[in-house]
Every structure is written in structure tokens, then in C-alpha cells.
């Protein structure tokens, strides 16, 4: 019997890369930093390293906590998965979380000072793609002395990175674990992203992306309203209709109508709360470029839309999982990935988990989901 525990107190580190990085857009960065965390120990053979890729609002802080007095508040976003005795068992694996390029939690991004101007990049930070993120993560792999990842794992946008790893560096990843993800966004997905972006872009405090030096004392402002709206829209797509009905239903805060536009239904106050919280911790420019990276991801594009041919480069074994109530990246999108892997004769297992929580299910610890993932991770030879 396992007794799952926390990895405990953790602290981020930073790696600096002073070589130029040419991006898919054609733009380049003269150098960059990546903020990351590690859990567990790299073994002598360096064969037990697992890279965790984050989704839209995530970062390098995957597991453990920053403040012993505020463990719950400072807990990593995938703490239920990563730790001693947990499916991604840190007694066995060396786990790495990294903040993506263009992020807002330490890695080089729009908030970083542009060495050419001495001012924050802001809107001048180049658009980065999933391919660029993976290329930057490959630099971090070298920095950590990891030639081959035992696994690269991610949910949602993180799953796209895990898939991209198996295509860009087929020799450097033995297992791709792609959860609640998709080989490309649908028009509906892009539409939601566009609403989010317009919410930010049309906020008067956005200032064309150069809001860090606005305000009376040039102390900077935040396009809070836009960011908040973007998060509210996003959050709707992360939950399922059933789960919202169960969690909030038509419950109101005061029991009777107040005939105004204040947050009256509980779902409204929930969305407001999520939006407010998010606007305090996330950067609007990072949000914009991350949604664009989502839109652009399409490994089949260079193969006339044929995902079968696009995945021919992959050599890894795969675990793919989706959730029945996920309407953002629905199970048929994961099945497309699975069929393309089958076409190429690759080892793949696929779990289609009956979990009520919609897209966000990948962050939860549904027993069937974690049992399948745990079995898969245990089967990885070190």
C-alpha cells in the first residue's frame, strides 16, 4: 500500500541560456532564462527524468509548497500527481517542472527587461509557439544533463508539448503522456480564445501591451478587467454543464431577486472570484501569446492536414487520456491522436475517463484516471 505524501518545501531555480534562440515566427531572442523546479533525484544512469509541461495558466510550480505556514495556498498545481507514493512517484522519478518561454512566473517573457531597450518587452515580446517552448525546454534538458526523458507529460496545452516533444526530439523521449489534449484547436476553441484576447486588447488599461510603465508614477497598471473577463470565459469552457449545475445550479446569494446586475447567482460570484484571483497572479501579455500558441499548434499542417503522416516521426510509447465530459478538448480529439499512433504502429494505451468535471478533470484525482496513469508510469523501465 502506498502512502502518498508531499514533496514538501520547494524553491524554484533559474537557468540562463546566452545563445540566440530563433523562433518559429522568424523572430529571435538573443538569450533567455527558464525558471524550473525539480523533485526527486536524477539517477546515475540519468534514465528517470520526467518533464511536466504546463497548460495555459500553469507554471513550473508543479508540486510541493513554498510556505510551510500556507501549504494549501502555495501548493503546486499538480501536487496530487507528483510526490512520494503518488502516480508520478518522486522516490522513483526525477520530475522537472518548467515555466514556459513567454511566461510570467520567472522565465523570460513580456515582463522581462528587453536588453535592447532596458524596458520591459511588453507587446514587443515575440509570439512563441508550442514548438518554440519545446525547443527551449530542450536547452533546459541539456542544462540538467538529461539526454533522454523517461517521459514527457502534460494536460491540455501541456499535452500538446508532450506530443510535440515526441515529434521534434523522437530520440530524446521514451514515453509521451498526452492528457485532455488535442492535435489542433477547433474553430470553436479559437473563437473562445479570440473572445478572451479581445477582452484584454480592448481594456483601456492595456495600452497596446505596454502597461508595465503606465500610471502616474510609471509604476505600471494591469488590464485587470480584460484579464478577468478572459479568465471568466476560459473557466466556462473548463467545466461541464453537469458539473456547473451540480456545483451552483440556480442558487442565488440572497434567496430572492434584487433586480440589478450585481453578482446574484452563485455561478456569477464564482466566475468573478476566479477572474479576480487570476488577474492578480497572471500577466495579460502572457495570456495573449499563450492563447495564440494554442491556436497555431497543428503538427499536421505541414502534411496536408494528415495527422497520420505527421506522427510518423514519433518513436515513443504513448499514454493518452481524455474525459467524457470535456467539451473543450473532447475525447474524439484524443482518439484522433490515438488512431494516428496506431497507424504508425506505436505502442499506445488510451483511457477515456468517465469524470464529471469537464476539461479540468485532468487536474483532479479521479480514481480510474489516476489508476490508469499510475499503472502506466509504474510500467516505465528506468
Amino acid at each position: 500500500m502506498k502512502h502518498p505524501a508531499s514533496v514538501g518545501l520547494v524553491a524554484p531555480r533559474s537557468a540562463r541560456f546566452d545563445q540566440p534562440l530563433r523562433l518559429k515566427s522568424g523572430a529571435s531572442l538573443s538569450g533567455f532564462s527558464l525558471t524550473f523546479e525539480t523533485y526527486g533525484e536524477l539517477n546515475a544512469a540519468k534514465s528517470n527524468a520526467v518533464l511536466v509541461c504546463h497548460a495555459l495558466s500553469g507554471n513550473h510550480h508543479v508540486a510541493g509548497f513554498y510556505d510551510p505556514a500556507q501549504q494549501k495556498e502555495t501548493l503546486g498545481w499538480w501536487d496530487n500527481l507528483v510526490g512520494p507514493g503518488k502516480p508520478l512517484d518522486t522516490r522513483r522519478f526525477f520530475v522537472v517542472g518548467v515555466n514556459n518561454l513567454g511566461g510570467c512566473h520567472g522565465s523570460t517573457g513580456p515582463m522581462t527587461l528587453n536588453p535592447e531597450t532596458g524596458r520591459p518587452y511588453g507587446a514587443d515580446f515575440p509570439l512563441v509557439t508550442v514548438e518554440d517552448w519545446v525547443a527551449a525546454q530542450a536547452y533546459l534538458s541539456d542544462f540538467l544533463g538529461i539526454d533522454t526523458w523517461a517521459a514527457v507529460i502534460g494536460g491540455s496545452l501541456g499535452g500538446m508539448q508532450a506530443l510535440e516533444w515526441t515529434l521534434a526530439y523522437p530520440e530524446r523521449v521514451r514515453h509521451g503522456i498526452v492528457i485532455a489534449s488535442t492535435p489542433r484547436l477547433t474553430a470553436q476553441n479559437i473563437a473562445f480564445n479570440e473572445v478572451s484576447r479581445q477582452a484584454i486588447l480592448s481594456d483601456p488599461e492595456f495600452h497596446g501591451g505596454h502597461y508595465y510603465e503606465q500610471g502616474d508614477g510609471r509604476q505600471g497598471v494591469i488590464p485587470r478587467k480584460g484579464l478577468r473577463l478572459a479568465r471568466m470565459v476560459g473557466h466556462i469552457t473548463y467545466l461541464s454543464d453537469d458539473q456547473m449545475a451540480e456545483k451552483f445550479g440556480r442558487r442565488t446569494r440572497h434567496g430572492k431577486p434584487s433586480f440589478n446586475y450585481d453578482a446574484e447567482f452563485e455561478i456569477e460570484s464564482y466566475l468573478h472570484h476566479q477572474g479576480d484571483k487570476f488577474a492578480e497572479v497572471f500577466d495579460a501579455n502572457t495570456y495573449l501569446l499563450t492563447t495564440r500558441a494554442l491556436d497555431y499548434f497543428d503538427p499536421a499542417l505541414d502534411y496536408d492536414g494528415d495527422l497520420h503522416r505527421a506522427l510518423a516521426r514519433a518513436k515513443a510509447d504513448f499514454f493518452v487520456a481524455s474525459f467524457t465530459t470535456d467539451w473543450r478538448f473532447a475525447p474524439e480529439k484524443s482518439r484522433e491522436i490515438v488512431y494516428a499512433l496506431l497507424h504508425n504502429g506505436l505502442n499506445v494505451s488510451y483511457a477515456e475517463v468517465d469524470c464529471p468535471a469537464g476539461h479540468d478533470s485532468f487536474l483532479l484525482d479521479d480514481p480510474h484516471y489516476h489508476a490508469a496513469l499510475d499503472a502506466y508510469l509504474q510500467g516505465i523501465r528506468l
Binding site: F319, L342, N347, V348, A351, V353, A372
Partner: protein, 198 residues
């Protein structure tokens, strides 16, 4: 291992599979058959299984498993992508009988199918006595059975004739031993190697 030994039909199925084949196992349970075929025949392939606990067991047994619903068919699988498509003791649980048989023979060069024979003498006797049969291979009560199709060896062979499905080989068993005399009456399980008619 105990499960593996308890399924005598696996050993007979394994005899029909050549070394190194690509195999698809529909309703693969905990992956015991594929695990056996991987070890004994070095096959490559996948199992399809809907039950979550079985999905995790397959992975633990080192078997590729896909949590697909067979009622949705095999439309995502390409023609001739497997040497054998196997369905061991599950055909009676699938509602779309003819479509799944046709799909098995589209996706696979050959199909291997086994099922409990509802025409087995003790089953007939149960019906004659006024009750639905409950036996080793039909262990369920009528109200909790996962079986949705109730058919005999004779029924199945009539269907194959109607649908242009070639029966290459048939084995029949009772109590784990082969039955040659009137299998429709004397066998509790039948096992077929099926193909497309030329």
C-alpha cells in the same frame, strides 16, 4: 497467471496465431490473452476494453489497451491493419452483431471468435424446466446479464452463411475438452477462425 490458466480457449486461440503477427483483441478484459500472445508468439497489438478497472489491469500487464466502446464500431481502424482480430467470449455482449463481425474482417485478415453456446444441453434443459440457463459460461441471472444476444452454434453458422463469412476452422468444447459429436447440443463453448469469402 491464475486467470490465464483458467481461460482454456486462450491456448487454442494461440495456436491460430503466427509468431510476430499484429493482433487486435476486442473486449480484452485484463489483457491476459494479449499478454500470453506477446510472450509466446511475440505478437504486437492492442486490446479494446471499456471497463476502467480492466484498462488499468491491461496497462499493468504490459498490454496496449484502448478504452473504446465496441458499439461505436471500429471505424477509426484501417483496412487490413491486423493479421487477426480476436473476440473471446464477448460476441454475445455486443448489440450490433453483424456490423462488428464485418468490421473485424475488414480490419483483420482473419477473425477469431469464441462464444458460449446457448444450445448446450444443460441450457436447453433449464429452459425446458422453465428457467433461463445459468452455468459456468453463462454465470449471470437474466436481470443482471451483460449478454444482449442469445444464440447457438447453429444460429451463428447460419448467420455466417447469410453474411458471406467464411468459417475456416471450428473448435467446440465442454468442460474444457473437445466436442466433435453434435456440438450444438454437446458443446458449451465454440471457437471459430473466420475469414472473408474469396
Amino acid at each position: 497467471m491464475s486467470r490465464m490458466n483458467s481461460r482454456f480457449d486462450f491456448l487454442h486461440i494461440a495456436r491460430w496465431i503466427n509468431a510476430g503477427e499484429w493482433v487486435l483483441d476486442l473486449g480484452c478484459g485484463d489483457g491476459a490473452l494479449l499478454s500470453l500472445l506477446q510472450k509466446e508468439k511475440k505478437v504486437r497489438g492492442y486490446g479494446i476494453e471499456l471497463e476502467p478497472a480492466n484498462v488499468a489491469s491491461c496497462i499493468r500487464n504490459g498490454v496496449n489497451v484502448l478504452q473504446f466502446d465496441l458499439e461505436r464500431g471500429l471505424s477509426g481502424f484501417e483496412d487490413d491493419s491486423f493479421d487477426h482480430v480476436i473476440m473471446s467470449l464477448s460476441l454475445q455482449t455486443v448489440r450490433h452483431t453483424v456490423p462488428i463481425l464485418k468490421e473485424m474482417l475488414r480490419v483483420g485478415q482473419e477473425a477469431v471468435v469464441s462464444f458460449p453456446n446457448f444450445g448446450y444441453r444443460p441450457h436447453r434443459e433449464a429452459i425446458a424446466a422453465g428457467r433461463m440457463p445459468v452455468s459456468r459460461h453463462l454465470p449471470y441471472q437474466w436481470f443482471n446479464s451483460p449478454n444482449v444476444r442469445f444464440f447457438t452454434i447453429a444460429d451463428f453458422e447460419a448467420l455466417c452463411a447469410d453474411e458471406g463469412i467464411a468459417i475456416h476452422e471450428r473448435l467446440a468444447f465442454a468442460e474444457g475438452t473437445p466436442v466433435t459429436d453434435d456440438p450444438n447440443l454437446n458443446a458449451e463453448v465454440a471457437l471459430y477462425r473466420l475469414g472473408r469469402l474469396p
